[in-house]
Every structure is written in structure tokens, then in C-alpha cells.
């Protein structure tokens, strides 16, 4: 019975997805709406309307910033779900269950980590700052910084990391991305544009290049911050998971 219901649900899902794909314009079709309307507009007026030399960034952080915010909301919801499963009510008693044994990692690993982590953080800062105008985004730099924190945690113990990065800070980092999106959206409304659409009518006649660039960078940074927070939180909760059972 359960199996039949499962197969039926999967078949329905597959049918819906295939129907949607079948209704899409054919690949390479020059008459489809995205080729006739959206893409030429992004290419011809993207710099003027959205204020960024990188067209993908124009789309992500300006024309479609609302959709990007939905993506950040989805990531936040997924993190909440993962935390319910992994981190059952341990947020409060933060130091109680942490690894106190002290991992004895080799000198080689320590040295490599000490040399590698500053370089990684520097490269992440470069990617984040250059990404506003050229290729690359803060999402990449956020994941890199999360990876650097995880590397440090592997080499030195979880106790050391948790002594330096307090759990309250992690909570702040996880929710900071969404908060930055909402703040920029509301600021845009105050300045006269639509919520998170910093390109069209509201900003049309005004000279707001610098403000708009800063707002787009804050959006970009929000994505990166939430990526770093989510990665480190999930990995730390997985590492912490076993401590209570042993």
C-alpha cells in the first residue's frame, strides 16, 4: 500500500515536471520570450539600469534580487530543519558537550593549516571584493571562509574553535544574511524604489550610483555570510553529535 502510494506520488511528480519541460520553449529558439525581451535588455541597459559591469551580478542582485532573497529564505529554512534534527536543544548548554580531549594533530598538519588559512581568507576577501564588478561572488568567498574555519577546527580541537567563536555568534551569522536582505529591501523602499528592485522606476532619474552599488554589495555579502554560517553550523553540529552518546 505504502509502496503503491510512493510510486503514484513519484509518477505524479515526474509527470508534472515533464509537462513543465515540454511546455518550455525549445533550446535555441530565437523567438522565445527570454531571447526577445529579457536578454537584450540585460545586455543593452544592464549597466545603466542596474549599475554593474557583470551581467550575472546585475540579474542576481538587482533585477532578480527578490528571487535571490527567496533562495536565502529557503537556505535558512533548510538550516532550521537540519538544526532541529542535529542540534536537539543543545544550543543553550553550549560548552557542556564539547570535545575536551584535545586532538593531537601532527606538526605537519598544523603548519599547513597555519600557512593555508590566512591565504584562503585573503583570497576569499579578494573574490568577494572583485566579484561585485567582475566574475565571482560572495557566495564563493563565504564557502571558502567556512572551509577555512572547518580546517582550523579539524587541526585544533572543537573546544579551541568554540572558545573563540561563541555559539551566539553562530546564531547571529546564520540569520544575518536574511536580515541584510530585508534591510536593503526596506532601505530601497524608503529611497523610493521597489522592494529589492533597485533598478526600475524609483531610481530612474536620481543620481544614486554609489548608494546602489553599496546596497548591491551588502546583498552580495548577505549571501556569503549566510553560506559561511550554514556550512560551519551544520559541520559543527555533526561533529558535536557523537559527544553525548559516548
Amino acid at each position: 500500500m505504502k509502496k503503491v502510494a510512493l510510486i503514484l506520488a513519484l509518477a505524479l511528480l515526474a509527470g508534472a515536471l515533464l509537462y513543465a519541460v515540454a511546455r518550455m520553449p525549445r533550446m535555441g529558439d530565437a523567438g522565445s520570450p527570454d531571447k526577445t525581451y529579457a536578454v537584450p535588455r540585460y545586455i543593452e541597459r544592464g549597466l545603466e539600469e542596474a549599475g554593474n559591469r557583470s551581467i550575472p551580478n546585475d540579474v542576481f542582485l538587482n533585477y532578480r534580487a527578490y528571487d535571490t532573497m527567496a533562495g536565502v529564505v529557503a537556505l535558512f529554512a533548510a538550516l532550521c530543519g537540519a538544526m532541529v534534527v542535529l542540534d536537539r536543544g543543545r544550543r543553550g548548554s553550549s560548552m557542556a558537550g564539547f570535545d575536551r580531549r584535545g586532538v593531537s594533530s601532527s606538526v605537519m598538519l598544523r603548519t599547513i593549516a597555519i600557512v593555508l588559512v590566512p591565504l584562503t581568507v585573503m583570497f576569499a576577501a579578494f573574490v568577494s571584493l572583485m566579484g561585485v564588478n567582475t566574475l565571482g561572488y560572495s557566495l564563493q568567498s563565504g564557502t571558502m571562509i567556512g572551509g577555512a574555519i572547518i580546517l582550523l577546527t579539524l587541526v585544533f580541537s572543537l573546544l579551541e574553535t568554540s572558545r573563540r567563536l561563541r555559539p551566539g555568534l553562530a546564531v547571529a551569522f546564520e540569520s544575518a544574511g536574511l536580515a541584510m536582505f530585508l534591510a536593503v529591501g526596506l532601505l530601497g523602499v524608503v529611497l523610493g524604489a521597489h522592494f529589492l528592485t533597485l533598478s526600475l522606476p524609483g531610481f530612474a532619474g536620481k543620481n544614486v550610483q554609489v548608494e546602489r552599488a553599496i546596497m548591491m554589495y551588502v546583498l552580495d555579502l548577505g549571501i556569503g555570510v549566510s553560506a559561511a554560517g550554514i556550512i560551519t553550523s551544520v559541520i559543527f553540529s555533526l561533529m558535536r553529535e557523537g559527544e553525548f552518546e559516548q
Binding site: 565571482g136 564563493q140 564557502t143 571558502m144 567556512g146 572551509g147 572547518i150 559541520i235 553529535e241 557523537g242
Partner: protein
């Protein structure tokens, strides 16, 4: 001549992916999977998508391998053991 590099990367990608499927030792399989991610990232750079390559290295090679290793650490290293 650069197509030889592409060919080497593709062959390595396919070989590592096949090895991952047939590997009995799960820890080796996890490490090989990160190697497969690295090949994929190099291919993305060759295809002109360095942003995608960066995110691939950070997420697939680093974070998801980390998760797999933690999961293996909590359960069992051998595929056949219960």
C-alpha cells in the same frame, strides 16, 4: 593541444567515478569522491566558469567530503558490516 588536457580530465573523471562506485572501503570512496569533485572543478575552469569551479571546490571537495567522513566515523568504515 589543449584538447588533450580536456581528454585527460574527462578520463580521470570517469575513472574516479567508476572507482567510487565499486570501492568497498567507504573512507577511500569518500576521499576519491573529493578527487572526482576536483576533476569536475578543473573541467569547469576549462569550460570558462571559474566561479562555478570555486564553489565546487569549496562545497563538494571540502564540505561534503567532511560530512561523509563524519558519517563514516559515526557508523562503519566497511560496506558489508551492519
Amino acid at each position: 593541444m589543449l584538447w588533450i588536457l580536456n581528454l585527460i580530465l574527462l578520463v580521470l573523471l570517469l575513472g574516479i567515478s567508476t572507482a567510487v562506485v565499486f570501492m568497498k572501503d567507504l573512507l577511500v570512496a569518500a576521499v576519491l569522491l573529493s578527487g572526482q569533485g576536483l576533476m569536475m572543478a578543473l573541467l569547469w575552469t576549462r569550460l570558462g566558469a571559474p566561479d562555478l569551479a570555486l564553489i565546487y571546490v569549496a562545497l563538494v571537495v571540502c564540505v561534503s567530503t567532511m560530512m561523509l567522513v563524519i558519517a563514516i566515523n559515526r557508523t562503519s568504515r566497511d560496506e558489508d558490516e551492519p
